[in-house]
Amino acid sequence: MRTMSTMRRNASRLASAVGAFVLAFGVLGLASPAQADVVNPEMPFKISGNVQNKGEPIGGVTINLTGGGGYAATVMTDAEGKFTAGVPEKEADYTVTVDESTLPDGVAVIDNPATEFVEANVQTVTVGPGGRAAMNFFIGQGERTTTSMFDQVVQRLISGLNFGLMLALASVGLSLIYGTTGISNFAHAELVTFGAIATFGLVAVMGEGLLWLAIPIALVLSGALGWGMDATLWAPLRRRGMGLVQLMIVSIGLSLGIRYTYQFFIGGKTEQLPGSGAERFNLFGSVSLSVIDIVSMGLSILIIIAFAWWLSASKIGKATRAISDNPSLAASSGIDVDGVVRIVWIIGSVLAGFSGILWAYFRPGIRWDMGGQILLLIFAATTLGGLGTAYGALIGSLIVGILVEGSSLFIPSDLKYVGALVVLIGILLFRPQGILGRKERVG
């Protein structure tokens, strides 16, 4: 019962706080312990929570807590909008009140129709048998509360499309590599991260004004990395005739090694690319976009069209598809399989690197494990579309992107990746070859 009402509350606070969709992007990363302003830490149970205004944390807000047995405490939110208060009893009710006079000017707590409370800044929370409870206050300014369902859906669709296009850039590369070599390449996540980190490093050296130059150089470096991996590792293993399962575990080891190498160099913090905090402007109603979003979607579409043309019309593109279809037949028809595979590695790495740059803007931020955060979504997209088919990966990515963003209209946003992962399992259950794949691929 409690869980149900929490879910409902979560769903409706999402409905009331548009623009808060950036909230839970660290979900797939390692959880860092919450640094909250803490009172009564010596007490055995606790109530913690968050105060946010349109997804922006508000610090310095006074929260009053009262409960049975004369318990009363006052806590102030920290710079991240978080608070934690120790409480003496579990399986007991506590009243949590936001002191509205400490909120910034023009900000008020929204009346939440999903709860029976009259004043929304006063909430009752039950500390359950687990001894912990969360009480979040997600606040929006007056005009924000009138966002229509239509606007929210449009906003989610746009951001899902943006996310999906970004995933597509990574997925088509993964899918091509799978198609031509049979490797489920877990280190693809590190190729994604590499694009972002290389751009960040180049900007740091060359200055922010040269971002337009840093990005192409980073992409060239990404391609070089892909070529280097193939030349030093994958090509020799191919020649040894190593099994697919072994290759997959090699890619897992490689992924771990490279990922922690990134952490070695950039540490555990989040860095930003220039322009990541760009102003958002209103499109219509309360649907807003930033310049970065538009440029990012435009470039993705251009690159995907160029890629599709290359794959369907150019000689090497045709050879790539031939190898995906039947490597031995392709080899015996005089196609240089090793040469084509090398080109596929280079192109796949460049696309992954570019998607990493876009991912750095979408998250926003650069982290050593940022690629790993979306690796399973990339796998979900390629599997959904049909492993080994590039166009399938594109369709799969768009579906996964829109599903992830759209699902947070209905489920708590920290569960939005779960929907995509459930789809991944579901598709393998009912149509393991994916949307565009052929049945004989699945053994």
């Binding site: 869980t3 005739g241 399962v245 080891g253 090694g257 979900a380 599997t383 779960v418 399992i425």
Partner: protein
């Protein structure tokens, strides 16, 4: 530099509860992959269910700790059934992706604030072992795991193994569970059941043509290995609090490293692999920062502490390429069937 201290801390990992937890989960993986050919990349999910099942059994349902342990084991069996029914028909790498995804779903559900009242969300759960541990919880009171310790308070042991009664109790419980588990797996793989499982690994169709129900055998292997994983999670929960940030995909990959180090198709390999993995991890994790601090390495101590993870990754690559049977494995029983 304190070489003796580094040496002692590293050697103490031979008997650490974490090492035993890894050994149990890795033994489960050996049954899945080494003997059964099932590419389970979601072992972290089984461990998480074992640990959280136990903790929630105590905190939410108010069960005594020994019954709560069965909640964890039961949860892992249900997870194995839900996971296995749709996926056991899939080919190796597909199964790997699905199991990873399933383990991530488990972790995200445990992390989500939607169920924070039961799972503790990002803070995890603590205090379920009763008084005497690192974190106590007065409502659990007497009767927790810590209270069942028959060893009188005091310091026991020698050298690297000098510890208090609680640590020794954990070690003894771990050794008992591990011994039983190794014996069980040893008996299983040398039984007719084990021969069928190995046959499935080598050639599923051949076994099917002998009239065996391949799906049922695979499911049994998945469940037994999953329970071993849950016991590993339980072992972690006995020793410390539970937090979803522990049960990440990297944990599964580390278990795989330990498995392939010792030898996937061996009974004692998982134990040997886990001990080597943890002793080396502890040793490198202490040595490099100490070297950096002494100015013998041109890194900060934080960087130096990361090097061990980089080594794990590349060691896994080298292992699979150059010694896929592991240190103690038999080359004839190569588990990487093409």
């Amino acid at each position: 530099m304190d070489f003796l201290g580094i040496f002692n801390s590293s050697v103490s990992f031979i008997l650490a509860p974490t090492t035993m937890a890894y050994a149990l989960a890795t033994l489960g993986l050996a049954l899945h992959f080494g003997f059964g050919g099932l590419l389970n990349m979601g072992m972290a999910g089984f461990m998480a269910l074992g640990a959280y099942g136990y903790a929630i059994g105590i905190l939410t349902f108010g069960l005594p700790w020994y019954f709560a342990a069965f909640v964890g084991i039961g949860a892992s069996i249900i997870f194995a059934l839900i996971l296995g029914i749709p996926t056991l028909r899939l080919r190796g790498d597909y199964l790997a992706i699905v199991t990873i995804a399933a383990a991530e779903i488990v972790r995200l559900l445990l992390l989500s604030s939607a169920f924070g009242g039961i799972t503790g969300s990002a803070d995890g759960l603590s205090g379920f072992n009763g008084p005497g541990g690192t974190i106590t919880n007065p409502t659990v009171g007497a009767g927790g795991f810590n209270d069942s310790n028959p060893i009188p308070p005091g310091e026991y042991g020698f050298g690297p193994f000098l510890d208090n009664e609680r640590t020794w109790y954990l070690r003894i419980v771990g050794i008992i569970i591990l011994t039983l588990a190794i014996y069980l797996v040893w008996r299983l793989v040398n039984s007719p059941w084990g021969r069928v499982i190995k046959g499935i690994r080598e050639d599923e169709d051949a076994v099917r043509s002998l009239g065996k129900n391949v799906f049922a055998y695979k499911m049994q292997a998945l469940i037994i290995g999953g329970v071993l994983g849950a016991l590993g999670g339980l072992m972690l929960a006995f020793s410390t609090n539970v937090n979803s940030s522990v049960y990440v995909t990297s944990l599964t990959f580390f278990l795989w490293t330990a498995l392939l180090l010792g030898g996937a198709a061996t009974v004692f390999g998982p134990l040997a692999g886990s001990i080597i993995f943890w002793v080396l991890q502890a040793f490198l994790g202490l040595l490099f920062p100490a070297l950096a601090e002494a100015g013998l390495m041109p890194f900060t101590t934080i960087q130096a502490a990361q090097i061990k993870y980089i080594i794990v990754g590349f060691a896994l690559v080298l292992l699979v390429v150059f010694r896929p049977q592991g240190l103690f494995g038999n080359k004839k029983e190569l588990t990487f069937v093409k």
